[in-house]
């Protein structure tokens, strides 16, 4: 655990904008270092005020500190941002139960069950509550204290670059991975799926720009509902994808992508 905390702290120091603060805050909370966890959560919230998971983490720490009113406000905020956030719904249910409002507690647990019907902990909480027992304190989101993702191959390509250990993927024109890797928000490795979908995009972007009389294409930026991406092409065939959370503006992402593109180009030219 101590090693995890050290590794997560180092990761956060290297990229303060990253979401690794969620895992670090939860790891500290589990270790009982509530003041440190609170600081991490607050710093994270300052950078990501619209991230429901950040409010959820903060609320869990406040609950551990028995600051229930503030915890309620945070879970309430999380649900306003993400109405289907089951962690926050369960948290609110827990707090409603604590003040004796069983109807509200059950209603929030039912709402959580609609979102995650296969989550046995929700059924268990409802059963406990109906039996007059306090439902368990809200659990953290899935696998928040998982060890940091192992260093991926991109370290060789993008070493020294901001966020080198996450969200960078270099592929060839056929969708084969040349370097880097991607994980989705749940931490699952989605490298191959994304690479497959991006196969041919470089050629298609080039064809589009040419047919429209726009000359050679330099990059493609896209704003998603939960994250932003930038595509560049270090060589005519290769494609570099940079993925970052939505809090990173497209302009900054483009600058980061330019640096990554230059590094990838050098790496490809060296033939490593």
């Amino acid at each position: 655990m101590a090693d995890d905390i050290r590794a997560l702290s180092a990761q956060l120091a290297q990229d303060p904008q990253s979401l690794v603060f969620l895992r670090l805050g939860e790891a500290l909370r589990r270790k009982g270092q509530l003041d440190a966890a609170l600081r991490v959560a607050m710093n994270g919230l300052e950078r990501h005020p619209h991230l429901a998971d950040a409010h959820d983490l903060y609320a869990r720490i406040l609950t551990d500190k028995r600051e229930y009113e503030r915890a309620f406000d945070e879970w309430d905020m999380a649900v306003r941002i993400a109405p289907n956030h089951t962690g926050a719904l369960k948290g609110l249910a827990f707090l409603y139960f604590k003040v004796g409002d069983l109807a509200q507690a059950e209603s929030h647990l039912e709402a959580a069950r609609k979102v995650e019907p296969d989550d046995p902990s929700i059924d268990q909480a409802i059963a406990m509550m109906r039996a007059g027992e306090s439902p368990p304190a809200p659990a953290p989101p899935p696998d928040p204290v998982a060890p940091p993702a192992p260093a991926l191959d991109e370290a060789r390509v993008f070493a020294g670059l901001e966020g080198a250990n996450e969200g960078l993927l270099l592929i060839d024109g056929a969708g084969r991975v040349l370097g880097g890797a991607l994980r989705d928000r749940a931490g699952a490795d989605v490298t191959d799926a994304v690479a497959a979908y991006l196969a041919g995009v470089s050629q298609e972007a080039a064809r589009t720009a040419k047919l429209l009389g726009l000359g050679a294409w330099n990059g493609l930026s896209a704003e998603g509902q939960q994250g932003n991406v930038h595509l560049g092409h270090p060589t005519p065939e290769a494609l570099l994808l940079v993925v970052r959370e939505r809090g990173i503006p497209l302009g900054r992402l483009a600058i980061l992508a330019q640096r990554a593109t230059a590094m990838a180009r050098r790496w490809l030219e060296r033939g490593t």
């Binding site: 991607l182 994980r183 989705d184 928000r185 749940a186 989605v190 799926a193 994304v194 979908y197 991006l198 041919g200 995009v201 298609e204 972007a205 064809r207 589009t208 720009a209 047919l211 429209l212 009389g213 726009l214 000359g215 050679a216 294409w217 330099n218 990059g219 493609l220 930026s221 896209a222 704003e223 998603g224 509902q225 939960q226 994250g227 932003n228 991406v229 994808l241 993925v243 939505r246």
Partner: protein
């Protein structure tokens, strides 16, 4: 082809060479307001094709569906806002598309595209 009132909000921005509504499903033009020389049919087909690939890749990457994207090139840019329906699996819906000069104010065009996308939903 007559243009819906919203498109002139986009083409009024300095550096924009044309704006279109495109069917995300088949890449056909729904409405357009283009300067001479801009190939509407090609813009529509290519924008729809790129939008489809991008949507699938972004969903797989966990960033959610795209709400705005732009292709930057040496001599211009293609800017696209999918409406809510073209963001869902299976496509459908409409793309609001602009073709612009390289020095266009991207932020301003983005705002106008989003505004038009809201009106066409």
């Amino acid at each position: 082809m007559s243009a819906p009132p919203g498109l002139d909000l986009i083409t009024r921005v300095r550096g924009v060479r044309g704006a279109m509504l495109v069917s995300a499903d088949d890449g056909l033009v729904i409405a357009e307001q283009l300067m001479e020389g801009v190939k509407g049919g090609a813009v529509a087909a290519l924008a729809a094709s790129l939008a489809s690939r991008l949507r699938r890749a972004m969903e797989a990457a966990g960033t959610g569906t795209s709400v705005f994207w732009h292709l930057q090139a040496e001599q211009g840019a293609l800017l696209v806002v999918p409406d809510g329906n073209s963001s869902v699996a299976g496509g459908g819906g409409i793309l609001v598309v602009a073709v612009a000069e390289p020095d266009v104010n991207i932020g301003l065009v983005r705002l106008e595209l989003l505004r038009v996308a809201e009106t066409v939903v």
